[in-house]
């Protein structure tokens, strides 16, 4: 008799984004990943820009800056700022919590169960509100700076 192999059933990278009806932290995680990669992309572009255009001299540089003041680039830049803010603040939370702080102590579970992350949800709420506030501040700046 030939041996039947169990069928593979991994969700794969899709499972990072959505695997079920989960709540907040699961999505904070994937946003952290997406923003991280997003800023990385920006960093590379930024690097190319600030070097390539710089070596070509003052005219080219100023022409580029002119282009960059175009509203569409501004919006892109704004998104990078938001992503960065989110990644930075959530990153700080991760650093604190992954070192085992601000999660509480393990206690015997009492039905109905509440895990530590849910008990400490005000952390995540805090981050989200700070991000929102800072976004508004930046947004103001974009408007004041002229689109």
């Amino acid at each position: 008799m030939t041996q039947i192999q169990p069928r593979r059933n991994y969700l794969g990278a899709l499972g990072w984004i959505w695997a079920g009806n989960y709540k907040l932290e699961r999505y904070l995680y994937i946003f952290h990943r997406i923003t991280g990669l997003g800023i990385l992309l920006f960093l590379l572009l930024h690097l190319v820009m600030t070097t390539v255009f710089r070596v070509q001299g003052k005219e080219v540089w100023e022409a580029t800056m002119e282009v960059l003041h175009n509203p569409w680039f501004k919006v892109g830049e704004y998104l990078v700022v938001v992503a960065f803010l989110y990644h930075a603040l959530n990153g700080l939370r991760l650093i604190i919590q992954e070192l085992g702080f601000a999660l509480g102590r393990p206690r015997p579970p009492i039905y109905p169960y509440k895990d530590s992350l849910r008990r400490k949800r005000y952390w995540t709420i805090l981050i989200i509100s700070i991000v929102v506030i800072l976004c508004v501040v930046f947004f103001y700046d974009f408007i004041a700076g002229g689109w």
């Binding site: 039947i4 192999q5 169990p6 069928r7 593979r8 059933n9 991994y10 969700l11 794969g12 990278a13 899709l14 499972g15 990072w16 695997a19 079920g20 009806n21 989960y22 709540k23 932290e25 699961r26 995680y29 994937i30 952290h32 990943r33 991760l94 919590q97 992954e98 070192l99 085992g100 999660l103 509480g104 102590r105 393990p106 206690r107 015997p108 579970p109 009492i110 039905y111 169960y113 895990d115 530590s116 992350l117 849910r118």
Partner: protein, 272 residues
Amino acid sequence: MDKQVVFKVQRYEPEADGNPHFQEFKIPAKRGMTILDGLIYIKENLDGTLAFRSSCRMAICGSCGMLINNYPHLACHTQIEELRSDIVTVKPLPNLPIVKDLVVDLIPFFNRHKSIKPYIIHPDTKEMENPTAEFVQSPQALEALLQFTYCVKCGICISACPTSASDRLFLGPQALAQCYRYCADTRDGGEEERLTVVDKDHGIWHCHLAGACSEACPKGLDPALAIQLLKRRLIIQAIGLGRKKQPASIVTPPAEVKPKIPFPEFTAKRTE
């Protein structure tokens, strides 16, 4: 709550060589009926070929984990009523290979649990082989690990964890939490051995605190917390602040002995 509920069950027959597909069953649901009861009803009355695991039907053996309406849970621990829907989709747990229908292969998962040395490692081997007295452990010390001993090894956290979704080699929340459980035990002296196991590629650092494991765990464990506490131990060791733990010692015999409680009266006691 007497009503008809439709169960959409994912079927997969390995010997027929087909692909997983859904089959629908209509079930009369009563108040107090669990998903497992529903599946048993299907098996006994509608289609005997349906395969699923179950044993204790009281949420303690860990056999019946499955994906119910896109949320992993124990079938015997989910009331049909609380789903508040007339259609229930039941699928095998993701991130684990499927054997048949709702049965998944957990052997690799057990092996990962085994790899973190889930047993007490104590330097005093003589005492370990032939105990003379109990180790002292305060209720507070017990509390620090108690919840992690409640793990029923159901694999639900694996199907919730995003890292496990793509990384087949990832140790997974269950094994990591058990690693913490044994390291945190005051009776244990095997922390160093265990830390080298979790600190490797596809090890503990691929946990990004997504927290889905804690959210989904049907027994109220908080593997996410255990993993972070374990990370703290690793970092402390890495920057050289770790102190070697002294495993607990046995109780000293009590100074005074209370009198035996009086023996109840009975008839003729024979001499031996």
